[in-house]
């Protein structure tokens, strides 16, 4: 029983972090209907950002996250201007391939600089003991930060002017433009925030698990599953989706081999797309 509780807790903690990675993906999709295939490499860049701050500058990994987030935002703005803006109104294939070319460029540069060997952020805060389960404190801290980021994102989207602009553009770009909202700037900002969330998620995962420059791909695929669970374009759904995925990953190994987890995940993913493409909670349309 306590074994199962342990699995549950592990799954939930990592699930929240998956959730914010997926939130970035779903925000970008919700605002501009672009599936960002450069999401994975940006997650990996977040990992390396924290790793470099920790090993080279000697910064605390959680402080380094602030720097990583700022750089993520900047990178997102650049990617939007260079690669995404021109293909916004083109068919889906164009935006998919444009973001994929960014993916290739990042991976290409990354493998040249860092090769594909494993790194890890050797940082520990000890272990927390409660109710017969033990949790590494870094995981708990990562989950708390992820929740904090979600809260801030919500405050931003619902309580501030730029956030409301983003929601307006997501709702109806033409109408928003008629109301005098500078849509290009808003789109660039949403793309930037989307990549910022990916970078933060990467940084958090980097403090928990070892990684390579190619690791982002795995989390990108997980983000797809989560996004579909929560409904494409629905950020809060993404958090819940992340929790569900974390639970699945935590609990399935208790009953059968770990290898079946992805089979289960992706079958669930395809079934959901078929039966409830609006997600479990129904995205706003």
């Amino acid at each position: 029983m306590s074994q199962l509780l342990q699995y549950l807790a592990d799954g939930l903690l990592i699930g929240v972090v998956y959730g914010i990675a997926a939130m970035g993906l779903t925000l970008i999709f919700g605002v501009m209907s672009v599936i960002n295939l450069a999401h994975g490499p940006i997650i990996a860049l977040g990992m390396f950002g924290v790793y470099l701050c920790f090993t080279v500058l000697g910064l605390n990994p959680f402080i380094a996250l602030i720097l990583v987030a700022a750089l993520g935002l900047l990178l997102g703005l650049i990617i939007y201007i260079v690669a995404v803006h021109r293909v916004l109104n083109a068919p889906h294939l164009s935006s998919l391939l444009a973001t994929f070319s960014v993916n290739m460029i990042i991976i290409g540069i990354g493998t040249t600089i860092w090769s594909t060997s494993f790194r890890n952020v050797d940082y520990s805060l000890g272990t927390l003991q409660a109710a017969g389960i033990s949790l590494p404190a870094t995981r708990v801290a990562a989950a708390l930060i992820a929740l904090l980021v979600t809260g801030v994102l919500y405050w931003f989207l619902y309580r501030t002017r730029p956030g409301k602009n983003i929601r307006a553009v997501a709702n109806n770009r033409t109408a928003a433009e008629l109301m005098g909202i500078p849509s290009t700037r808003v789109l660039a900002l949403s793309f930037g925030i989307g990549t910022m969330l990916a970078a933060i998620a990467g940084g958090l995962i980097g403090t928990i698990l070892p990684f390579t420059i190619l690791s982002g791909g795995v989390y990108e695929l997980k983000s797809f599953v989560i996004v579909v669970l929560g409904g494409l374009g629905n950020p809060l759904g993404a958090l819940v989706g992340g929790l569900i995925l974390g639970l699945i990953e935590g609990v399935i190994p208790a009953f059968t081999s770990v290898g079946w987890v992805p089979v289960f995940e992706f079958v669930l993913f395809v079934l959901l797309l078929l039966l409830r493409p609006q997600g479990l909670f129904g995205a706003k349309k």
Binding site: A90, H92, L96, M104, I105, G259, F266, V270, L274
Partner: protein, 322 residues
Amino acid sequence: MKTLRSPGLWLPLLLVAAFAVYPLITGSASTRESMFTVLMSVALASSLNILLGYTGYVSFGHIVFFGLGGYVGFYLIDEQGWHLFPAALLGGVAAGLLALLLGLSILRLRGAYFALATIGINEAMKAFAKQFALFGGPNGMELNFAIYRGYGGANAALWLVFWSLAVLALVVIFVSFKVKKSKFGLGLMAIREDEDAAEVMGVVAPRAKTWAYVLSAIFPGMIGVLFFFKNGVIEPESAFRLHLSIELLVMVMLGGQGTVLGPALGGAAYQSLRRTLLTSPMFRDIQLVVAGVLLLLIVLFIPSGAVGWLRSRWAALRRVLE
């Protein structure tokens, strides 16, 4: 016979035939290997084009058919002692059946949802193959070397695979042309332009889409069997490699989606570019970056690909290039 005289058909056929004959002239194994890669890309890209270019559905995980066909054929050859040809046929049938099943379900999804679903299916199949004991689990299967003896030695077997692939590539081009010129193809292109309008005009969209999907899946299934027979080893990571799937999209995009010549040209151009980059001392380390930048430039500035661009630039070419 009228179709054979159309330059839209014989130009791509001639191109493919040239790739096939080239190693015969040099007679070297290394040209054969590089032409194998080119022909494989041409055939895979052309079959993807039937769904992507004509019907307008972006299949991101098309490699799932290559992998599944490869696994089924490999199993039949390795474990059941089948000859290559019937195994390849059955590999194609397996891929076609999967496409039929999927077509009845996920083709209801449109745009980004469909693209995501195809990625999910590829990943699900990969994860499944890793667990499926009959197919060797995560380690996959390895061909017993003695099997090549039945084909007159390893060298003869490699040439046999090469010629089979060449014939298959020609067939794919022919089918691609026939589809484009048929009423069925016209229906597909109507779906690409506007699915709802096409339905109103009497195109039975679900049926047409499903058959386009099946048609575009059969050939990758057969090619998978040929490839892994030549390779001698099959494992989940190499069979269901999402990256290859995306490379196929790039090839189709490079040459021009929705054209017969485009994917053939794109496949050949992409592979020769890749080879040049990989062997040049300057670009070897950053070949992925160079390829990424090129792809981005094409997507941003020439979205209709080389053939599409030529056709729109010179009206006279529209009668020659299809």
